[in-house]
């Protein structure tokens, strides 16, 4: 077994174990942290698939930005334990509301996976391999899309100013009487 296969099985095992633990946990904070671990393992798999850009984005966007947001929300809501209202012995498909929807989605995913695997494995290498390289993406970002890139900096500046405006505590001495509504 080559080192690449070893790495694949290692990342795969971590991803599966972490994902299973995400749904097995009662404490949402643990769930979120385990999901970050799962994303990290997935990003390792992307590196093995020759897609370094997707791997980096996976870490920065998902593990970095989105999960931190999740963590903030969970902590803001101050919800250390999920409340379960349904009877846990009932089959997931028969449970009320969102649980049934989630179970349906999982079922669809399983069918898709089975279908994809049954269709054959002669896909070969990913044709756009060269495009996914960080260097190529970086070069096109700073040449072909330089204008869009520069406008994005204004967009981020607007978001920053906006965050300051909305979060700033107004000086009570400075503030005049607000409108009557």
């Amino acid at each position: 077994m080559g080192s690449e296969a070893l790495a694949f099985y290692a990342f795969g095992a971590v991803a599966i174990a972490a994902s299973l633990l995400v749904i097995a946990q009662r404490n949402p904070i643990y769930s979120v942290l385990l999901l970050i671990a799962s994303f990290g393992a997935l990003s390792g798999l992307y590196v093995l698939l020759d897609a370094p850009f997707v791997a980096v984005i996976q870490i920065i966007v998902y593990a970095g930005a989105i999960m931190v947001l999740f963590l903030f929300v969970v902590m803001l809501l101050n919800a250390p334990h999920e409340e379960t209202e349904y009877d846990e012995r009932v089959h997931p498909l028969l449970r009320p509301g969102p649980m049934r929807f989630g179970a349906c989605l999982a079922l669809v995913l399983a069918i898709e996976l089975w279908w994809a695997l049954a269709r054959g494995v002669d896909t070969g290498a990913f044709p756009g391999g060269a495009v996914t390289s960080v260097a190529v993406i970086g070069r096109s970002l700073f040449t072909d899309y330089a204008f869009a890139f520069e406008v994005t900096s204004i967009l981020i500046l607007v978001a920053m100013v906006g965050a300051v405006v909305l979060a700033r505590r107004d000086d009570p001495r400075e503030r005049r009487k607000p409108g009557e509504r």
Partner: protein, 491 residues
């Protein structure tokens, strides 16, 4: 490999650069100026807008693609840029006293965000690439999310910001999903390259899905029924000048985006998107006007009226001809003046002791401030489409474009809707001229507001009796899109 941005690119994006510089200047000046001098920031903002308008002058006859095909500098974008700058300037003039009355902490960020929203709109109108359009759209939208919630002590303002943000993010997701399908099916994000890639793929269900998703995403931005649910609450809650800018600038920019994406990017799919817009147009006009009849808050009523106007404007898109696009451009310009004017009167009514956006606040206005009442009368008649105001001319062009393209039913529904709309426009006039009971202090016109009302009244009157110049400009602008060639494909 060519360098990223060449010197000539810098020349062609000069207006955008000037505007960005102006925005940064306002932001810095806000920190440097002592607190009592910060009212001067409004004039710095106006100066930035004026300088940007001056920077547009060299490009009156330009027709090029710059920055590696991300941006087009042509008459079409020029038309919209002028509209945006005018709307922004009028908004700034309206804001001066409004911000003082509301006691907003600092005007610097407010004007900065207005300028950045304008920049986003300009990039949307010039964008011929999905990436540029998307980033321009976000720059505009993020600015508006914050502006809508700028009056922080006001709960309705907070509510408006949160609602607009959530629904805006949701609609952007739908739009992006459609755009990514367009990219996936054509292999390019450039709309002009895309147009030829889609020829012969008309029956592809994936492309139809892309059209449906983009129509839904754009429908949110122009507040077309059934994607209009955010508009009344946001328009009512946001600070009045922001509402004015939102209902004019954001709508015009979204229409520019709509025309770019569909007319330039997907002419071969026109049968599909014209059918969708046909249905949206009828729904939007009818639902908007009927809902407006029952409103007692004038800002909310104007929100529904603005929804109905999106329906009228869509008629030109449905027609799909060069004449239809021209009519849409004309009506967008005319609509901007009358809508901004109407909101300026509401801003005028905002005093220390009166909020001024309820119908009863208009009661007896003709006796206390005859000029403001007359201006409002004119705007209401114009919005309703009564001659000799500009609104009549605009509607005339739209309806005749629809008839010209053999959409007789659509034109009839448009006329019927205009009749319904008169009911609630005239109701305001009745309150101003026939009711006597009044409340609060007398509304006083500041010089800035007088300028706004003067300009909008003049525009509404002049464009009503002498629309030729506007027509010629709009016609030339629409033709730079190459609509004529597309029309041949449609027929």
């Amino acid at each position: 490999m060519p360098p990223g941005v060449s010197l000539s690119d810098f020349y062609y994006i000069l207006p955008e650069l000037v505007l960005t510089g102006g925005a940064l200047l306002v932001l810095i000046a806000d920190v440097l100026l002592p607190k009592e001098r910060r009212a001067a920031l409004a004039w710095v903002t106006l100066l930035a807008l004026g300088a940007t308008a001056a920077a547009l002058v060299p490009f009156a006859n330009t027709h090029v693609e710059v920055a590696h095909g991300l941006l087009a500098v042509d008459r079409f974008s020029l038309f919209f840029k002028i509209l945006f700058l005018l709307a922004a300037a009028i908004t700034v003039l309206m804001s001066i006293r409004y911000l003082e009355t509301e006691g907003a902490a600092s005007p610097g960020e407010y004007y900065f965000l207005i300028l950045c929203a304008t920049l986003g709109m300009m990039i949307m109108a010039g964008g011929i690439d999905l990436i540029t359009i998307m980033i321009g759209l976000e720059t505009m939208a993020v600015s508006f999310y914050i502006l809508a919630g700028y009056i922080k002590p006001n709960q309705r303002s907070n509510e408006a910001a949160v609602k607009y943000f959530l629904l805006g993010a949701f609609s952007l997701g739908i739009l992006l999903y459609g755009m990514s399908l367009m990219y996936g099916l054509s292999g390019t994000t450039n709309l002009r390259v895309m147009a030829s890639a889609f020829v012969g793929q008309e029956k592809d269900p994936r492309l139809m899905l892309a059209v449906i998703l983009v129509v839904a995403g754009v429908g949110f931005k122009i507040a077309a029924v059934p994607f209009h649910m955010w508009a009344p609450d946001v328009y009512e809650g946001a600070p009045t000048p922001v509402t004015a800018f939102l209902s004019v600038g954001s709508k015009a920019a979204s229409f520019a985006m709509l025309i770019r994406i569909f007319v330039e990017g997907m002419p071969s799919m026109s049968a599909d998107w014209r059918l969708l817009f046909y249905v949206l147009s009828i729904l939007t006009m009818t639902a908007g006007n009927i809902a407006a009849v029952t409103q007692s808050n004038v800002k909310r009523m104007l929100a529904y009226s603005s929804i109905a106007h999106a329906g009228y404007l869509l008629m030109g898109i449905v027609a799909g001809t060069a004449r239809g696009i021209t009519a849409t451009l004309i009506y967008l310009m005319i609509y901007s003046f009358m809508q901004l004017g109407a909101f300026a009167v509401i801003t005028l009514l905002r005093r220390k002791d009166v909020v001024g956006d309820e119908l009863k606040d208009f009661s007896g206005l003709a006796f206390r401030n005859p000029f403001a009442a007359f201006a409002m009368l004119l705007f209401m008649l114009s919005l309703g489409g009564i001659p000799p105001t500009a609104g009549f001319m605009g509607k005339f062009w739209l309806f005749s474009a629809a008839i010209d393209a053999h959409y007789y039913g659509l034109a009839v529904i448009g006329v019927l809707n205009s009749a319904i709309s008169l009911y609630y426009y005239v109701r305001i006039v009745v309150f101003m001229y026939l009711k006597k009971e009044t409340s609060g202090s007398d509304p006083v016109i500041t010089p800035a507001l007088a300028l706004v009302l003067g300009v909008t009244v003049m525009a509404t009157l002049v464009l009503g009796v002498y629309p030729q110049l506007l027509f010629r400009v709009a016609d030339v602008s629409a033709r730079t899109l190459g609509v004529a060639g597309i029309t041949a494909a449609i027929r």
